[in-house]
């Protein structure tokens, strides 16, 4: 299955400071995407691995094909857990030239991994130590000379060993609710930076493209944050953010564009570039906003709190839940409160907060039944399609499976995918 992938599996040994490209039959046989990731996790589980990977269709024009993942043992549960690589990080993971990357061991000194066009470089990260996620992202992009580099990074929370530490995708936090950021901190792995200028091959390019376009035409998710809020049963959340809303932003290849950029350091009506370098924050996940709204926060301080947590590299969902019952309004107080978060709250959504989804994190009850939610995650993480998009758009999964053959000569379906997860 050479198509849809670039390169072999990369093994990064942080103890030795080496990288090695290998090919494993058992990983190939396990299946694409997260199925391969789980096989690698199992193979290296004694080395406390973090597995970075992408799905079969990640980085293609298939609607919602933005998803990559980080897989590792959650310090919270001791069980394997995944964090989504959304926005452009999953696609760039695929284009970086490696289908899967296993980072094992821990480095004696801070490092970051620079994956570009199939070249793996372990770079000294001493000068990044102590930097927050925003500073880290800027520093790596400046050093490598390109603002489109995707930076999966850990913030000060990870360096301090906090179990609230979450990985961050560039500046914006992530859906990591398993404290995989803390694992990066333990490994002294400050960041994984990704960029590739290559292209993906399909076995049957014309057929693949035609079918992908058909799926796109049939995708029925409206643009913006509102459809997500409605699906969560919280339509007023969109209205709550509305006064600060500047624009919506899509993950790679997603027609939904549900991430919302809010401005609170500048008039959100200003559309042209201004001199204000940090006008606001991208609200890429509904959960933290929802917790703070439920706790009685005003929207602007809530967004400032989300920014402060993202900068620290703190799990936005658990952090917001812990903050939710003590609404603040002063920016300085918000920063201080974020710095002393203790991690007392579990991951979960305001509705059905105690229901865990195991490998995939907390289940979101209003969106779908438990079975549908689990299947969307399995399909999504194997094929590289955002599960939220799958559920909300109602995209035809049979159409998705039909893409696997022209993409990579792979015949698969719901039963095969269920089988990949035992």
């Amino acid at each position: 299955m050479d198509s849809m992938y670039e390169g072999d599996t990369l093994i990064v040994d942080l103890d030795a400071g080496t990288t090695d490209q290998v090919s494993f039959d058992e990983v190939d046989e396990a299946g694409p995407g997260l199925a391969a990731g789980l096989a690698l996790y199992e193979k290296y589980k004694d080395d406390d691995p973090l597995v970075f990977g992408s799905g079969l269709l990640t980085g293609t024009p298939v609607p919602g094909a933005c998803l990559g993942f980080v897989l590792g043992k959650s310090p919270l549960t001791g069980e394997p857990a995944v964090a989504p690589l959304s926005l452009f990080a999953g696609a760039e993971m695929k284009l970086s030239g490696f289908s899967m990357v296993v980072v094992k061991g821990s480095s004696p000194k801070p490092v970051y991994l620079w994956l570009h066009d199939g070249v793996p470089d372990l770079e000294d990260a001493s000068k990044l130590t102590g930097m927050d996620t925003w500073e880290t992202t800027d520093a790596i992009r400046r050093e490598m000379g390109e603002s489109l580099i995707q930076v999966i990074c850990a913030g000060p929370a990870a360096e301090a060993g906090s179990k609230l530490a979450s990985i961050s995708i560039n500046y914006w936090g992530s859906g990591d609710t398993a404290a995989l950021g803390a694992v990066m901190g333990e490994k002294k792995l400050k960041a994984v930076a990704l960029r590739g200028l290559g292209m993906l091959d399909a076995d049957e390019p014309e057929e693949f493209y035609a079918k992908a376009v058909e799926l796109l035409a049939a995708a029925s998710m409206d643009v913006g944050f509102a459809p997500v809020c409605s699906a969560l049963g919280s339509p007023d959340l969109d209205a709550w953010l509305a006064p600060m809303k500047h624009r919506v932003r899509a993950c790679f290849a997603c027609p939904g564009a549900c991430a919302t950029f809010v401005k609170y350091n500048e008039d959100p009506a200003v559309m042209e570039s201004s001199d204000i370098e940090e006008p606001g924050m991208l609200v890429a996940s509904a959960a933290p906003a929802l917790w703070l709204q439920h706790g009685g926060w005003e929207a602007e301080p809530a967004c400032r709190a989300i920014e402060a947590m993202a900068r620290e590299g703190i799990d936005l969902m658990r952090g917001a839940r812990e903050l939710s019952d003590k609404p603040l309004s002063d920016a300085g107080e918000i920063k201080s409160a974020v710095k002393v978060l203790e991690g007392t709250a579990d991951a979960g959504w305001p509705e059905g907060a105690e229901i865990s989804g195991g490998l995939f994190g907390p289940w979101v009850p209003p969106v779908a039944s438990a079975d549908a939610w689990l299947e969307a995650n399995r399909v999504g993480y194997v094929l590289g399609i955002c599960p939220t998009f799958l559920l909300i758009s109602g995209m035809d999964t049979a159409g998705l499976f039909a893409l696997c053959a022209p993409a990579a000569g792979l015949e698969t379906g719901p039963d095969e995918i269920a089988g990949m997860f035992g």
Binding site: H116, D117, G145, I149
Partner: protein
């Protein structure tokens, strides 16, 4: 883009034309000296498609040092004609003319065509006169352009050379194309015109192709109908026998890798010249002793990885620069950031071959890979410095000149090594066949 290039390379004419250069293949020099812009690298695609691997990259200095004695074909692409002519001088003009009259083939595209027109009678061009003809796209006071202002004009004495259309134009058969199949049944083919001359050729028997108008795949500094009126029926490509040799002067870039029919026209002209060359002038390398197979030089793998690392890094920075509204004027030529990646892509796309060749024990000259690795590392540094300057709004002209000059040199060095290994493989040193 790469898919389109691959499809173009699969054009069936190349398979037929390869045979026209066997068993004795010509030795080809590509000019990459003063004034050459980036388009000389396009010649390498055509030569690969024709499996002409005996290729060298030469400068004005090499020509003045009589390097042309070693070659059968000289290819000169686009760029700054003033800089080319100025650096080659009268002696360079004399040596090129002697090269042709003694049996060589000169092909000039764009600047390489302006350079050899007899009607261009202005220093430093006066001594270069290989084709009896002139250019039409000159006037003292051209109208304001509708677009592409930065590419529209070049000074020419008291007048201006101007470019009314920029992109694909249609060419039709001229009298000198008798027996050529490139024009097909329709009698026409497309080729890109990027600032090349609209020719007036005195002897109609020397006309290989006329312009027939533009296509929709072009930009129009002039209104399209005015541009078409100016170029239609005028000459696009001249072919002249001079002494024992041949001169080709082409306004459009026939060598562009996305225009296989234009490539075919050029290759047919080469083949016709090669078939008609006086016996005894072939300087084929078929008698060259085979290079013994050996093991790759020590550290070759590490150097190759370093080349890959640095070319990747530099391409990424180059891509970053492409998002910035910045250009640089070097001589009379305007350079856009896209040109940085164009150079680097020619190395990047050929690295897998080099990797396999080294792995198969190809005879890589000692130190060649290390020198390239150091050079590309320097290029990455220069590209980053250039980007920082451009981002901060400072004048980055000097940095751009340093980077583009170094890139040109390194790309030529890399391609020299690449073609050398392809030639060695063709000549058959004792090791498994390489496939790319």
């Amino acid at each position: 883009m790469k898919g389109r290039t691959r499809r173009a390379a699969a054009h069936p004419a190349f398979e037929r034309l390869k045979g026209d250069f066997l068993p004795d293949a010509p030795r080809v020099a590509i000019y990459c000296g003063d004034g050459a812009s980036h388009s000389w690298i396009w010649f390498t695609d055509l030569l690969e498609r024709l499996e002409l691997f005996d290729v060298a990259f030469i400068t004005h200095g090499d020509i003045l040092a009589r390097a042309l004695d070693e070659f059968d074909i000289l290819l000169v692409g686009g760029g700054d004609t003033y800089a080319m002519a100025g650096s080659l001088g009268r002696e360079g003009a004399r040596l090129i003319e002697r090269f042709v009259t003694e049996g060589g083939l000169y092909h000039g595209s764009c600047a390489g065509a302006y350079l050899v027109l007899s009607g261009v009678d202005l220093e430093p061009f006066t001594p270069f006169s290989l084709v009896e003809g002139n250019m039409l796209n000159v006037m003292p006071d051209p109208p304001e352009p509708l677009c592409l202002a930065h590419k529209y004009l070049a000074p020419y004495g008291d007048e201006w050379v101007f470019h009314p259309v920029y992109g694909e134009v249609e060419l039709v058969r001229g009298p000198a194309a008798e027996g050529f199949s490139a024009f097909g049944e329709a009698g026409a083919l497309g080729a890109p015109l990027f600032g090349g001359p609209v020719l007036t050729i005195e002897d109609e028997q020397c006309i290989l192709a006329d312009y027939a108008g533009s296509t929709a795949r072009a930009a129009f500094p002039w209104p399209r109908e005015d541009a078409d009126r100016l170029i239609s029926g005028e000459q696009a490509v001249a072919l002249r026998r001079l002494g024992d040799g041949t001169v080709l002067a082409s306004g459009p870039h026939l060598e562009h890798p996305l225009f296989p029919r234009a490539n075919e026209l050029m290759a047919e002209a080469f083949a016709q010249h090669w078939a008609g060359r006086p016996r005894g002038t072939s300087q084929s390398r078929t008698q060259t002793p085979r290079t013994p197979a050996g093991s790759a030089p020590r550290g070759a793998d590490g150097s190759l990885l370093e080349i890959k690392r640095q070319v990747s890094n530099a391409r990424i920075v180059g891509f970053g620069l492409e998002k910035m509204p910045v250009t640089w004027q070097i001589g009379v030529k305007v350079w856009e950031p896209e040109k940085i990646r164009m150079f680097l892509d020619y190395t990047w796309d050929r690295l897998p071959y080099l990797d396999r060749a080294v792995g198969s024990g190809a005879p890589v000259p000692g130190g060649a890979l290390e020198i390239l690795a150091v050079g590309f590392s320097e290029v990455t540094g220069l590209a980053k410095t250039l980007k920082l300057k451009a981002e901060s709004g400072q004048d980055s002209q000097a940095e751009a000149l340093s980077l583009l000059t170094r890139l040109k040199e390194l790309t030529a060095s890399f391609l020299s090594l690449y073609f050398r290994l392809r030639l060695e493989e063709r000549l058959g040193y004792d090791r498994p066949t390489l496939r790319d």
